[in-house]
């Protein structure tokens, strides 16, 4: 078995380790859940951990492989979240099977996010430079503000749209407001579970791994490494860039769907879908290592959990959080520390070998 793993191609082995890690943690958590060993806090955190891992993987595809900075992934999450929650709200009374409905909501959320990613990509990805960062940043803010003034209601006559307030929708007696401006979408059912979250995370990882190890993936990386060289060998730059960016947006949409079906209220606030969240996701990616999906997942899990674990420190927790974040960045990426770490691990191994001998 060991030699089998060794003989495998490096990428394949890396993929298997990542899947194994996710499945391993999943099994351990399930066992601990059945033994009642996990606190309420951790149980509540399981779905958000999956959500942020998925979005971090999505952004890593964009930043690490496509080499384009996106500051609007929270915006794609937002689009995915609202479109899927809207779909769920609309179909709640139709008597559709719950699981089928969730699956369809997932498709709706993912495709809507992909559509927005595609539309943004068409003009912007043709340009060189940091335009994508600027445009996605604006997109994230615009989408948040648009949703805050969007009112959608439904009665027997059909759907009503408005940008002013609920009363201006002119709903009939049997009408209900589905999207209520700043109040967002209320009373969406809880359907995100840890199992679904892990499955979606595995699917996202699978899609990303398959993409980057395919012919298209190599083309995408060639564009990242040297655009002119890639162009000169006939790679259609815009097409591949669009492909990667759309997939990245779609996966962020999956994260949004998971988010929307985890809480009973969905509002577009600066805290959950704003600029800060986009930066937070970028921090996951940078800390985990650009181009390393496994790193993104681990960083997302650790950094989402950290502020909750530090709750005992009360008012100082955000301060400590920042310090820990800096320490982790240095530990992971400072050249001196990497050298030291390597030496340390090598020493430990030598000792073991000596003891064995």
């Amino acid at each position: 078995m060991k030699t089998g793993i060794k003989n495998m191609k490096k990428e394949v082995r890396g993929q298997l380790i990542t899947y194994g890690l996710v499945i391993g943690v999943f099994i351990i958590v399930q066992v601990m859940l059945s033994l009642g060993m996990i606190s309420n806090l951790m149980q509540g955190l399981l779905v958000p951990l999956c959500t942020y891992s998925i979005v971090a993987v999505a952004l890593n595809l964009c930043v690490g492989y496509l080499g384009e900075l996106s500051l609007g992934h929270a915006g794609f999450m937002c689009v995915g979240a609202f479109s899927s929650a809207f779909f769920t709200k609309c179909t709640m009374t139709t008597g559709l099977n719950e699981n089928v409905r969730f699956f369809l909501a997932l498709l709706v959320g993912t495709l809507t996010a992909a559509l927005f990613g595609y539309l943004i990509g068409i003009p912007v990805l043709r340009l060189r430079g940091d335009y994508l960062a600027i445009v996605t940043l604006a997109f994230g803010e615009i989408i948040k503000n648009v949703i805050n003034v969007l009112y959608i209601g439904r009665d027997s006559a059909g759907f009503h749209f408005g940008m002013k307030d609920e009363t201006s929708l002119g709903l009939g007696e049997d009408g209900e407001v589905l999207v209520n401006g700043a109040k967002g979408i209320m009373r969406t059912p809880h359907q995100s579970t840890f199992t679904i979250g892990v499955i979606l995370l595995l699917i996202s990882l699978f899609v990303c791994f398959q993409l980057v190890n395919s012919r298209s993936g190599r083309a995408i990386m060639a564009i990242r490494d040297n655009r002119i060289a890639a162009e000169s060998v006939g790679i259609p730059i815009t097409k591949y860039k669009l492909l990667a960016f759309t997939i990245s947006a779609a996966i962020a949409g999956i994260g949004g769907v998971l988010y929307a079906h985890n809480l009973s209220t969905l509002t577009a606030q600066p805290a959950n879908f704003g600029y800060n969240m986009s930066i937070m996701i970028l921090v996951f990616v940078v800390l985990g290592g650009m181009g390393s999906f496994r790193g993104s997942v681990i960083a997302a899990v650790l950094l989402t959990m950290l502020p909750e674990i530090l709750r005992g420190l009360a008012d100082y927790r955000m301060l400590i959080y920042a310090i820990v974040l800096i320490a982790m960045m240095l530990f992971n990426w400072s050249p001196k520390l990497i050298e030291f770490r390597k030496k340390f691990i090598a020493d430990v191994f030598k000792k073991k070998e000596k003891e064995a001998a």
């Binding site: 606190s39 509540g44 307030d165 909750e308």
Partner: protein
């Protein structure tokens, strides 16, 4: 091999993390000789003033009750968790408190997070009384109670008050469209105004991202000829509006709601600008009432601030718990679900004086909505003076 080792280490770390926080979880944590009351609200971030006010107000009430012998003879422990005004973090805070062994919840302070938490408390049947989440939507179960007015209630009461006292004929509104509280009051105000033949001539919105300059909104109200501007917003923005209106030479009457309370304590704000501003509030810190006086003194001693109505609502929430707990004769040995069942039956029967209840006191409906009279006050000489 190295890879495998690092993987194993990562696994150990992850499991270690999980178990570390897993410790101390039980079906009913908490000790059997104290009541544990939890609080949730923003203690950091932009909405921190509201969270901290509630935290401090609750603390004062808890200390008083403990000094006087406790709740049904048992001491109260109080823990307040930060949620940064975010729904997801709020649910995390709620779960943390459950791990701690919470018996009853005083929270959540702000509306949007409260919706998410109330949904969980209804599932768990945890007794919840929110001091300040004012949307009627938070009352989604019979175990959730409110101390503050609901938003629609404030909106309709304001419109009625303006119309009855003939304060204006043309009303302009400046509101925060990204805030549930502000938008909720505005919607009901407009609706009521229509039925009372009060003309709303302008409705100008701003959002949480653009709340430092209101000249456009003021100009809009001025051009529309509004002789009264209704401000269903919090006092920080209101103070800027008053300043800019003064700079523009626009001097309509200003009418606020409970969020306006606190405007006299804004730093670097010339309080003379607030002269003549009217607001509808359940609580005035300079009231001559004995209970209010004692509360304000204690609050100032401990926290060096003048309490606003959030603190007062939190204080009343704890005393409502006390009154209901005495009626229901609950003990800490009961599970939180048993406590909740006993408490929700008792809540509709109690009537407490409270800081925010005025002469008639506070009473609760079975839906969780509070019954109390709003007071209209006008700012005169840098003080709130009751309007009759």
């Amino acid at each position: 091999m190295k890879k495998l080792l690092s993987m194993a280490l990562a696994l150990v770390l992850a499991v270690g993390c999980l178990t570390a926080c897993g410790g101390g979880s039980g079906d009913k944590g908490g000790s059997s000789d104290t009541f544990r009351i939890g609080g949730i609200g923003p203690a950091t971030g932009a909405a921190a003033i509201y969270g901290n006010a509630v935290k401090y107000g609750t603390q004062i009430a808890v200390d008083e009750i403990n000094e006087a012998g406790g709740l049904n003879g048992y001491q109260i422990e109080y823990d307040f968790q930060d949620d940064v005004h975010d729904a997801e973090k709020s649910v995390n805070a709620y779960n943390t408190l459950k791990d701690w062994g919470m018996d009853m919840l005083v929270g959540t302070v702000t509306t949007a997070p409260c919706l998410a938490v109330a949904d969980k408390t209804v599932q768990d049947n945890m007794f919840t009384i929110t001091p300040s989440a004012s949307s009627p939507d938070v009352l989604m179960g019979d175990n959730v109670f409110q101390v503050c007015f609901t938003d629609p209630n404030q909106g309709s009461k304001s419109a009625e008050y303006i119309s009855e006292n003939k304060l204006a004929t043309k009303v302009g509104i400046i509101y925060d469209s990204s805030d549930v509280y502000s938008d909720g009051i505005r919607a009901k105000f407009v609706e009521t105004a229509k039925s009372l033949n009060l003309e709303v001539v302008s409705e100008a919105a701003f959002t949480a991202d653009s709340k430092t300059d209101f000249q456009t909104q003021l100009k809009q109200a001025q051009d529309a000829g509004a002789d009264l501007v209704f401000l269903p917003i919090y006092y920080t923005e209101a103070s800027i509006i008053l300043k800019q209106a003064n700079d523009m030479g626009y001097a309509p009457k200003f009418f606020g709601v409970d969020g306006m309370d606190g405007i006299l304590t804004v730093e670097n704000f010339d309080t003379s600008l607030a002269e003549g501003v009217m607001l509808l509030t359940p609580f005035a810190a300079d009231s001559e009432d004995e209970a209010v006086k004692s509360f304000v003194t204690k609050y100032q001693e401990a926290y060096k601030e003048i309490p606003n109505q959030f603190a007062a609502d939190a204080y009343d929430a704890v005393y409502a718990i006390k009154a209901a707990a005495e009626k229901a004769e609950i003990t800490p040995e009961m599970t939180y679900s048993e406590i909740s069942d006993a408490m929700k039956a008792a809540m509709v029967e109690i009537n407490i004086k409270g800081l925010t209840g005025g002469d008639e006191g506070l009473k609760w409906e079975a839906t969780g909505e509070v019954n109390k009279q709003p007071k209209a006050v006008i700012i005169q000489g840098g003080k709130y003076v009751s309007m009759e």
